[in-house]
Symmetry: C4
């Protein structure tokens, strides 16, 4: 985050970079809040589209999705335009996630034929990575409402990691199972399944019926039993240290 702390002269490029990275000035804060809110809506739209809805609402959701994707496309282009080293910015993991999150929606808009021919289900599942966009907001301790402590930031990141793991696993599981598994009709079913599986409870009321669903489960379990205890032990250690 070694950014120039103030825009100099009429350099638009610096100005763009400044406001996209800044969380202190009113405009920088406003941009931050709008982007966070749009991302929340973007994720909610993804979840909502898995539920049976009246056709009218589905059209509204789709328009909302395309609109938000357009805003994020503009954001992506502006970040690239404003970056000091553009090649580095393209390779930046946050930028890669930004692109992946909007690409499936854009593909369907720009190339509807190709997208229909290609596996729509796979495109759907890729869209779940948009939840990863939230990481950008935990990059530093300055939030719109003020600066939070280091401990709280770390706890927030860990909580986000667990939520992202649950969300991405549920999204992938939903994608590969919902067509053939009568027990997995909505994202909610998949989320319940993933919480039960990754907490190692494993009731068995919902089980994968496809080979892809089994692989998603195996990968999620292996990720979960490494990531969750590791992160949880960190949080617990921090709590314990704070109590002393």
């Amino acid at each position: 985050m070694s950014t120039d702390p103030s825009p100099t002269g009429h350099d638009w490029r610096d100005l763009v970079r400044y406001y996209l990275l800044d969380h202190r000035t009113p405009l920088g804060k406003a941009i931050d809040i709008v982007l966070l809110a749009l991302n929340l809506v973007f994720v909610v739209v993804f979840v909502a589209e898995t539920y049976p809805l009246p056709a009218g609402l589905q059209v509204v959701l789709w328009r909302l999705e395309v609109g938000i994707a357009a805003v994020f496309l503009v954001e992506y282009v502006l970040r690239l335009y404003g970056a000091r080293d553009r090649l580095e910015e393209v390779r930046n993991p946050y930028a890669v996630v930004d692109l992946l999150a909007i690409l499936p929606t854009l593909l369907v808009v720009v190339l509807p034929g190709v997208a229909t021919v290609a596996n729509i289900g796979f495109l759907r599942s890729v869209r779940v990575v948009r939840v990863l966009r939230f990481y950008r907001f935990t990059q530093d301790a300055e939030f719109f409402f003020g600066t939070i402590s280091d401990d709280a930031l770390r706890a927030l990141k860990l909580l986000l990691t667990v939520l992202v793991l649950l969300f991405v696993s549920a999204g992938l599981f939903y994608s590969v199972e919902h067509v053939v598994n009568p027990d997995v009709r909505t994202f909610g079913d998949a989320f319940y399944y993933v919480v039960v599986a990754l907490s190692t409870v494993g009731f068995g009321d919902i089980v994968p019926v496809t080979t892809a669903g089994r692989w998603v489960t195996v990968a999620s379990i292996l990720a979960g039993i490494i990531v969750i205890p590791w992160q949880a032990s960190k949080i617990v250690r921090e709590w314990t240290d704070r109590e002393k």
Copy 2:
């Protein structure tokens, strides 16, 4: 607990506060024991009312519940009357729990019509918070039978936390599931389910069939995999330290 160690003069307010907080004088001890015993009965009544019982016994249990709630109402009012700072006392978590524990019962007595119209099931589930009242008895190390060690008090608190988590989860799960789930007919079924789920065993012989039951399960699991290992690791650490 920076209370005045002795009641001075004829100040009733001080006297009331003194005896409700004191565990050393015979009267203070007696009040403490009676309240603890009444709370135990209050919890047992909650559990017993989930079992199929003859109508006569149900009436007895209901009268017992109303009677105990009346005693606790008097206690609540006296605590408020005796408090140095009454606004602070109202906001005190222990006082909030005290009120929540008796409110559902009082509502049914005072406003039977409204309570019937309102969701009785929800009122029922709120009544499970009465188990939280036990925390007040672990506030300090002085018990009616004597003073216990710091370690024992901490272990007792932790054990109580685990029991409260199991009890509240079972109460909520029972509330939302027992109407539609043939496997959850009594509080005992729900308690068995919660122990099997929160220990991450997860046999799957009892599973939630309602969306609400699933959310209760997800919330309990997430609470359990954070709270139980955290508390257990504390107990284990204490035991290990004591062995050295």
Copy 3:
């Protein structure tokens, strides 16, 4: 173990105590090995009697059980006779376990009518405590084959604790379930169930069908999630320390 290191004079009482506690002289070692072997057979007989066997073999097993119980009764009486402080010996946890382990068998022999009237199933389940007798052999580091290291002795005790927990849980679960649960026909079924439950795997292929079976399961799980990780963390810490 502050025993007199050598028998003095013709004092039979000292002699008895000496040989029952000693693991170094050939006679002391022989007594130790015989008692350990008899206890192993005693446990195996308990397990074997849960399997469907030809009537002839059942009679042999029963006679074996009575014979070993008689030997252990003699051992118990001799220990009491040889003890410096007999009241203390009666209250000794090892002696209590010794008595509990043989009492059910003796009751059936001495009072066949009463035992039949009393709940035989309950007597059966109490017999599983005979596995606790093995603890006496881990009292000190001197074994018939030589002295083992402190670490090895501790590891052995921990392993024994886990095995005893599994064995006693399986024995209790078998006792309360085998009459009504078609999935629990032998001790082996109950042992598999207990390993699956206490490891928190919980497949759900075998589940308790009785209320007693559920309580045994809940108690075993709660014991297991406290005892096993605690013991395992101890072993792991020892291994880790040894690696340094």
Copy 4:
């Protein structure tokens, strides 16, 4: 690994030993890579043979298996020939694993009649030990692509241990269950089962139906709940230490 760093004179024995143990010279590296690749194929063949395949492909796989086993037999003989102390080499755990991995295949080739009479299923299950051969490649930190750090080598060994545990458990479970259990038709089914069981999730969609399958499960669970947390805690500790 106290090997002579360079072959002297025309001593074939030293030369053989040198190239089989060396990872630095081009020839040593080439031998290492070929053996690793052959072992990968050897394991893949074991897995592939559990799937329903056209007869032609089955013949190809069988020839591949015999061919690779022949190469490994040559390697085994050369290692023995080149060893300074041949008796020690025979007892070397790596050499024992090498022999066990190829013995079942060789037995079927050399003594087809005996192998058919003997339990082919058992021979099949023994073949899974070939996955243990990979341990030899983690003996030191010199890989064909360069030297890796101590931490990375340890992490690699631990990952391999977990994979070997899963793989061997799946292989044994497949061997004992696939004949009678309609849910365990391929190695993939057994692998999914083992991941679900050893992570303690335990859905119960696949459960052992044979007594042997239950014992494999019990043994794998007990191995897993000791080995996996132990190894995982090591990895986590290393990661945590590295972060400091």
